[in-house]
């Protein structure tokens, strides 16, 4: 079972990561190309703390808190720069995060942090913990979407200026999206670190941010189920593609491209289109 467990654990961690990005990018419309930096902040914080004998959950929480704090700082940047500029700024955040971590000996520098303590739940216990977190994060996502907060996020994502004209404090809401999203990224980071029990800068390279964003957009920006499905698929894809061997990444890249090129709404968009088409079809029939 260990193999399935470790795969499911990674899947769960990916889902938390992509759902957290979905809060920012999917719900609130702020494209972030550097989300894995916050995963990294959570991972480093939690690891350093548990290595210093801090209880696991306290460390996890601290990782979330610190990631969220940095997230709010980037959120403040989002109040100043928009759209493409924001995308590239967040990308910059990822590179600067790596650049700084690589040079910090107390963060393990290039060697990273190894022998991160086992939280002691056993493989299955840890999986249960991760899945529990997935459920919580998914529930939170659903709650946000059906609440007035999600309503406002949708408005801010659609047209920020008009949202302000309706008396909505768009800046404040954007900061909340960043705070929540990055804190949850920190959670996924803390879990990741204690699952692999070894982290180093390359674990949080820019390509991982792209992977997270890909999960969100392939799932259908904003669609919770779509994003969960896409991250579940994409996180195990490299394992499934083992038999394709040499063509694995080629396929992965092409998949990203093809989905964006032919169904920019992602899986959710695809499903919706089919649904609408069938609805129209039936409506036509009814009218006849």
């Amino acid at each position: 079972m260990g193999y399935e467990i470790s795969l499911l654990t990674f899947m769960g961690i990916s889902i938390i990561g992509s759902l957290s990005l979905n809060l920012i990018t999917g719900f609130c419309g702020q494209v972030s190309l550097g989300h894995v930096a916050f995963v990294g902040i959570g991972a480093y914080t939690a690891s350093i703390l548990t290595k210093a004998d801090t209880p696991f959950f306290v460390a996890l929480l601290a990782g979330m808190l610190l990631a969220g704090t940095f997230g709010v700082m980037v959120g403040l940047a989002s109040l100043r720069v928009r759209h493409d500029f924001l995308a590239i700024t967040t990308m910059g955040v990822n590179f600067v995060f790596l650049g700084v971590v690589r040079e910090q000996e107390w963060l393990g520098g290039e060697l990273g942090i190894s022998s991160i303590p086992d939280p002691g739940f056993g493989k299955l216990g840890f999986l249960a913990l991760v899945l529990g977190c997935v459920i919580l994060v998914a529930l939170l996502s659903f709650q946000i979407r059906r609440s007035w907060m999600g309503y406002v996020f949708e408005a801010v994502s659609g047209d920020e200026d008009t949202a302000r004209m309706l008396g909505l404090d768009a800046s404040h809401y954007k900061l909340i999206a960043f705070a929540l999203g990055t804190a949850l990224a920190g959670l996924s980071g803390g879990l990741y670190a204690h699952h692999v029990r070894f982290i180093f800068p390359d674990s949080f390279a820019f390509v991982e941010s792209i992977t997270l964003l890909a999960m969100v957009v392939i799932g259908g920006n904003g669609s919770i189920l779509g994003v969960i499905l896409a991250s579940a698929l994409l996180s195990v894809l490299p394992q499934w593609f083992q038999f394709i061997g040499d063509y694995k990444l080629l396929l992965y890249g092409s998949l990203l491209f093809v989905v964006m090129r032919f169904s920019p709404g992602g899986l959710a968009g695809l499903a919706q289109n089919l649904f609408l088409k069938s609805k129209k079809y039936f409506a036509l029939k009814e009218n006849q």
Binding site: G2, Y3, F10, E110, L111, S114, V196, F198, S203, W240
Partner: protein
């Protein structure tokens, strides 16, 4: 409900691809075959395959053929952990080898250690790997060890004193530099300057200009063939003529191709002596070239060596009990393509350091460093 269906169908799929063959002795092998580390992965895999072919031709393990179970880990820790689990459970391997980089090897090592399955790192140099536990070994030098050898080579063998250190900013380069700097003073070396570069860098103009101004006696530069090739080339064409000393990362024909004429006279510390008369090394070199039509390199030799250690241990243990295999590995006394090998208490290899030099467009014997106190890897 939906989730259940998804999970169970996923599981079913895995099981389908995880079907095992009987009647062979399986050895796990994780290796980067796609992505940025694919070049080294390819060499390591070829070296490993060669070792398996040779052993199978010699009757395998007590008549059973050896089967290499290969997975691509993209040199990513995230991929390596499920692969380790998969090797252990689905494929039921009793011993495994990493043909991969430090990140994935370090991550997988924890899994193998926890499962009590012996695991050998062929060429990953992260100091933390063997510290995962008693089931983890390494057949290549730790960075520090090789760095110390470099200091001896420059300060004692070559009698050069004023040295500029150019360090590749990753675990490999950093630990080399640490070892080198720790011993430099003991061999009368004065480090007059140190520069760092990162792994994607190929243009070293600024460093070359500065090094020329530094006027050192020698340059100790870490890197892989794809960074060292351009570096050496640019140093030479930038008018820097002093000896350049590198390490096993250079050890590839590719380095000579890239650096061209500039590679003449470059000296490295490594594991493979191409001019060795030992039958193990000779047969490795000729058969590897026959198998792949490529020239041998350090990574291939390391993959080959690691597999030979495993094969030897399997033969001695004579059973598929991982604990017995582990103990057999720990007791290894073996002459492999990379020389005579044994392990210390931590699972780190003890062997001599080969010094090679580029002459007439090929790697050749320069000297050998046998100082076992200097080369002693850490015991814990």
């Amino acid at each position: 409900m939906k989730l259940k269906i998804i999970i169970s169908s996923i599981l079913a799929l895995f099981m389908f691809f995880g079907i095992a063959w009987a009647d062979t002795v399986k050895v796990g092998f994780n290796v980067p075959l796609t992505g940025f580390a694919a070049a080294d992965g390819e060499s390591a895999l070829n070296g490993a395959k060669l070792a398996v072919n040779q052993a199978n031709a010699n009757g395998g393990i007590n008549g059973k053929q050896i089967e290499l179970v290969i997975y691509d880990d993209q040199a990513s820790p995230k991929e390596a952990v499920p692969i380790a689990n998969r090797l252990i459970e689905k494929d039921g391997v009793k011993v495994a080898v990493s043909g991969s980089y430090s990140g994935s090897t370090r991550a997988a090592a924890g899994v193998f250690q926890a499962a009590g399955i012996p695991y050998i790192s062929a060429y990953a140099i992260h100091p933390g790997i063997t510290r995962a536990g008693k089931y983890v070994f390494r057949t290549s030098f730790m960075g520090e060890v090789q760095g110390r050898a470099g200091a001896l080579l420059i300060g004692q063998t070559m009698q050069l004193k004023r040295v500029v250190v150019i360090t590749l900013k990753n675990d490999f380069g950093k630990s080399l530099a640490a070892g080198f700097k720790a011993e430099a003073a003991n061999f009368g070396i004065e480090i007059i300057n140190e520069y760092e570069y990162s792994i994607p860098d190929r243009q070293f103009g600024p460093i070359v200009a500065k090094v020329r101004a530094d006027k050192p006696d020698a340059i100790y530069a870490s890197g892989y063939f794809f960074t060292a090739g351009p570096l050496v080339n640019q140093l030479r064409s930038g008018g820097v003529t002093v000896p350049i000393i590198g390490q096993e990362g250079y050890d590839s024909e590719q380095f000579i191709k890239i650096a061209g004429a500039a590679s003449e006279g470059v000296i490295i510390t490594t594991s493979l002596d191409r001019d060795s008369n030992s039958p193990e090394t000779r047969s490795f070199i000729t058969e590897y070239e026959k198998l792949t039509r490529n020239k041998v390199d350090m990574v291939a030799a390391s993959g080959h060596t690691a597999l030979n250690v495993v094969i030897a241990a399997l033969r001695i243990a004579g059973t598929s009990n991982p604990k017995a295999i582990r103990n057999a590995i720990a007791q290894t006394q073996l002459t492999a393509a990379t020389g005579h090998i044994s392990f210390n208490a931590l699972g780190e290899v003890r062997k001599n350091v080969q010094v090679q030099i580029v002459r007439n467009g090929g790697w050749h014997y320069h000297s050998e460093i046998r100082d076992q106190t200097l080369l002693a890897p850490p015991e814990s």
